[in-house]
């Protein structure tokens, strides 16, 4: 019979091999699901993961989708390492977009060198405020941040719907639930002319590298890591838990707000009722796939961005429902967490000789 046995140490090999195995299992499982839906399994996986890259603008679309995922994933990997379970980044993303977008709508004629930086600051502060509220509730009332951050995500979504269907609706918009288009001065600067490749695509990897350095090399990062692994040891060392919870929520919230602001100024150009196709939740998968390491989050963000493109392709080319993206991502997270059993355990085939001892 197959036996699970503790290794007694953490396997270095499986630390990196476990996400790869999870990815292979996800491919196989979703292939089976596609077969059950009457589509050829191989073709579907191909459509999902490879075809989007072969398109002319494939890479452009990929990096544009990946940038917000990476920014949020990096913030989450930091928070999760400190045992701060912020799962409401989708709301922080939205609030960042609302705050920054509000400035764009209020001052459409301001010059670009004032307007855009002001929007970046407002967007980041918006995300931080949303995250900070969660931190305050946890510290002041011992409220579980998993619940509060998730509930804030819904509150923020309805705030957005209220604004774009109510006070902020474009008077010339024929009643559509959307704001006026932002002025050109309010749009994120482009790295390449006439594309959507905006400044956030450069910013995301830089933030990842910066936070990696902070987490692995600085005293502050050390405090996060100790808090996440042994609360009592953090106390013994004199690290203040409340302060660290504040910082983790402010950083992960602020990065989500920044990602939201860059998304509306980089690709959408206005506020609508659906700013995020679940980016905030996908970022949780990104953080885990990247092993809660900010550098690992970069390839993880690219991969999950690919599943969004693949989902679009599967809808258009194969007529599959939109939900397949979510299914694919869900299966991936499931296998990711499942395969981690291999880090600390191994499977061993034990011939059933147990009888001999009896």
């Amino acid at each position: 019979m197959l036996k699970i046995e503790a290794r007694g140490y953490e396997s270095r090999f499986w630390r990196y091999a476990s996400p790869v195995l999870a990815l292979l299992l996800t491919g196989a499982t979703s292939g089976l699901i596609f077969m059950a839906m009457g589509r050829p399994a191989g073709l579907t996986v191909y459509t999902f993961l490879i075809a989007p890259l072969l398109r002319q603008d494939g890479f452009e679309a990929l990096v544009v989708k990946a940038a917000p995922l990476i920014m949020m994933g990096v913030g989450l990997s930091l928070a999760y390492r400190a045992n701060v379970w912020n799962i409401g980044t989708d709301g922080q993303f939205t609030l960042g977009a609302i705050c920054g977008g509000g400035i764009a709508l209020a001052f459409p004629d301001a010059p670009a060198y004032v307007l855009f930086p002001a929007m970046v600051i407002a967007g980041t502060l918006g995300g931080m405020a949303s995250g900070g509220l969660v931190a305050w509730l946890r510290i002041r009332f011992n409220a579980n941040e998993i619940l509060t951050s998730l509930m804030f995500a819904y509150i923020t979504q309805y705030l957005l719907v209220y604004l774009v269907t109510g006070p902020w609706r474009d008077p010339q918009g024929f009643g559509f639930p959307q704001t006026a288009l932002f002025s050109d001065t309010a749009l994120a600067p482009r790295l390449i002319e006439d594309t959507n490749v905006h400044i956030g695509i450069l910013l995301a990897p830089l933030i990842a590298i910066g936070l990696w350095f902070m987490l692995e090399k600085s005293l502050l990062g050390f405090q996060f890591r100790v808090l996440g692994q042994a609360t009592r040891a953090a106390k013994f060392a004199g690290f203040r838990e409340n302060r660290l919870v504040w910082i983790a929520m402010l950083i992960s919230g602020g990065l989500a707000g920044l990602a939201g602001l860059l998304e509306v100024t980089g690709t959408l150009g206005q506020l609508t009722t659906t700013l995020s196709p679940g980016y905030g939740f996908t970022a949780i998968i990104v953080a885990f796939l990247g092993r809660l390491n900010p550098l690992g989050v970069i390839p993880a963000g690219l991969l999950l961005a690919l599943t969004y493109l693949g989902g679009d392709a599967a809808q258009i080319d194969l007529g599959l429902p939109n939900a397949v993206t979510g299914i694919f991502q869900g299966i991936l997270l499931f296998y990711l967490l499942g395969c981690d059993i291999l880090l600390l355990n191994r499977f061993r085939w034990v011939p059933s000789h147990a009888k001999a001892v009896r």
Partner: protein, 517 residues
């Protein structure tokens, strides 16, 4: 093998082998327990005692080996099976529900309703018969540790066992409770219930046990009659090296300034079932070692946290380190004014087990050793500090990059004590300096503590091991119910006088013992 004659040994185990990943816990171990015998199982931590006992109690299945119980070859499947065979076990850590009564706790451990018939009468009868007084209606929460242990013993005796396994039973008892327990155990053995007695305390083993099996590194090394050996000889067989007692030090001159002062320290425990500290006043001079004796759970961990700054005292003046009011300071600031601390629990409190030794050296060393530059960890200096601890304290490990959890308990404790001692503190507080540590490491730790005091530091040792306190301390105080008694000079103290205080009794009137206050 069907000769059920009750003449042979009660339990014979031969060639018991158990392999854990990366560790051969039992390597062809043999054990024979005779009828009516109190048999000691001796060995350092990690010698394989608990694995062997778990095999007997059916918790662990052996890879190889034969067990002959009461003349029949058996394979013990699980603890229930062991109990049906007549094997009972009293664990070191009790499994009792605090909010339930004695009788309810015992009833919960029984299998069927049939067994509960007349339970109350049987509890009373057994507890009276064996000198284990228990009131079936008392709530466990109100009972002392000794009384709780009696519940566990009575619970086993209800099953009419032929073998009772006791794991470190005296570690939580006062000296007088220990004597009462021994009377009970001798009586049980005489009436036909053999006892397998696991302990570190060699003096007790010599007094109580008629045979001892000694293990080292997963193997049998000797089977002896304890009364025929000295404590020193037993210890040397256990750890396979010569032991020399630490050399006594002269007392600190009375003119030396006080380095650690507690001033009416009063603290509410943050833990619901914890012990509040009440009005503790103490004063330690440089060069002095003060031992705080006491039974577990009388406020030791609260006192330690109050010293380290993990629990803040309301008033700054209630803790003075080198004359500086520190009651309001956290651990980081207390280190800055030359205080260092070693908490009781190594795993997850004193050390982060999943981090490297270098990172663990950094954990409490970064303040005093200046291991941070502009907010960034000075990796080189940190590794050098860890390397130095490993070298000076002879920590057996592969190096600073080894994970803390890869070290044995004794080696990790040496590392943690070394980490604080090498920071050259003015005040060092240690809770349970050698808890679960082998004799060789314990000696190294004791010597380091003495050398630190000889260098002028004030050291406070909180320990439940009276022997350790008598060896190390210049003065002894007792913590009971969150209060600390006035310290007495070690040379004026006796195990009996300290034991009385540990049990919550008041200090004897003899004025001589109270001389140093």
């Amino acid at each position: 093998m069907t000769d059920a004659a009750p003449s042979g040994p009660l339990l014979t185990m031969t060639g018991m082998t158990k392999q854990y990943p990366g560790c051969l816990a039992n390597d062809h171990v043999s054990l024979t327990v005779e009828r009516n015998q109190i048999h000691a199982l001796l060995g350092e931590n990690g010698a394989g005692k608990s694995t062997l006992v778990k095999i007997i109690y059916g918790v662990v299945k052996p890879d190889e080996g034969h067990i002959v119980w009461d003349g029949r070859k058996v394979a013990i499947q699980n603890p229930g099976h062991a109990q049906r065979l007549g094997i009972g076990m009293v664990f070191q850590h009790f499994s009792l529900f605090e909010a339930l009564t004695v009788q309810e706790n015992i009833a919960l451990g029984l299998g069927s309703a049939r067994e509960r018939v007349g339970l109350r009468e049987r509890i009373v009868r057994i507890s009276n018969e064996y000198g284990l007084p228990l009131d079936p209606d008392r709530v466990v929460h109100d009972l002392s540790v000794g009384e709780r242990q009696r519940i566990e013993i009575v619970r086993c005796l209800l099953q009419n066992p032929k073998l009772l396994i006791m794991d470190e039973p005296t570690s939580v008892l006062t000296p007088s409770e220990v004597r009462k327990l021994f009377v009970t155990l001798r009586r049980l053995a005489a009436e036909g219930c053999s006892i397998l007695y696991i302990s570190h305390k060699l003096e007790e083993v010599r007094a109580l046990c008629s045979a001892a099996t000694i293990m080292r590194l997963g193997k049998n090394v000797a089977r002896v009659i304890p009364a025929e050996k000295t404590v020193k000889e037993l210890a040397e067989i256990m750890i396979n090296m010569d032991l020399h007692a630490p050399t006594p030090r002269p007392l600190a001159p009375s003119s030396a300034p006080s380095r650690l002062v507690l001033n009416k320290l009063t603290i509410r425990s943050p833990n619901h079932f914890g012990t509040d500290l009440k009005d503790i006043s103490l004063s330690l001079k440089g060069g002095e070692i003060l031992g705080i004796a006491g039974i577990a759970g009388n406020g030791q961990s609260e006192l330690m946290d109050a010293l380290s700054g993990e629990i803040l005292a309301g008033k700054p003046d209630s803790v003075l380190i080198d004359g500086v009011p520190a009651g309001h300071m956290g651990p980081h600031d207390r280190r800055r004014i030359h205080g260092c601390f070693v908490p009781e629990e190594r795993n997850g409190h004193g050390a982060v087990t999943t981090m490297t030794l270098a990172e663990n050296a950094f954990l409490s060393g970064f303040t005093r050793r200046a291991l941070v530059r502009f907010g960034v960890i000075d990796t080189k200096k940190t590794a050098a500090f860890a390397e130095n601890i490993i070298k000076v304290f002879d920590v057996r490990t592969t190096g600073p990059k080894a994970q803390a959890r890869s070290l044995s308990g004794g080696n990790l404790q040496k590392f943690l004590v070394g980490r604080e001692v090498l920071q050259e503190p003015a005040v060092l507080a240690i809770n349970q300096p050698t808890w679960g540590v082998d004799a060789g490491a314990a000696l190294a730790i004791h010597e380091a503590i003495m050398a630190l005091a000889a260098g002028g530091a004030a050291v406070m040792i909180i320990s439940q091991d009276l022997d350790e306190i008598f060896v190390l301390a210049d003065r002894i105080a007792v913590i009971a119910g969150g209060r600390v008694s006035a310290p007495v000079l070690t040379r004026d103290a006796t195990v009996e006088s300290i034991g009385r205080l540990m049990g919550g009794g008041s200090a004897p009137a003899a004025a001589g013992e109270m001389a140093v206050a």
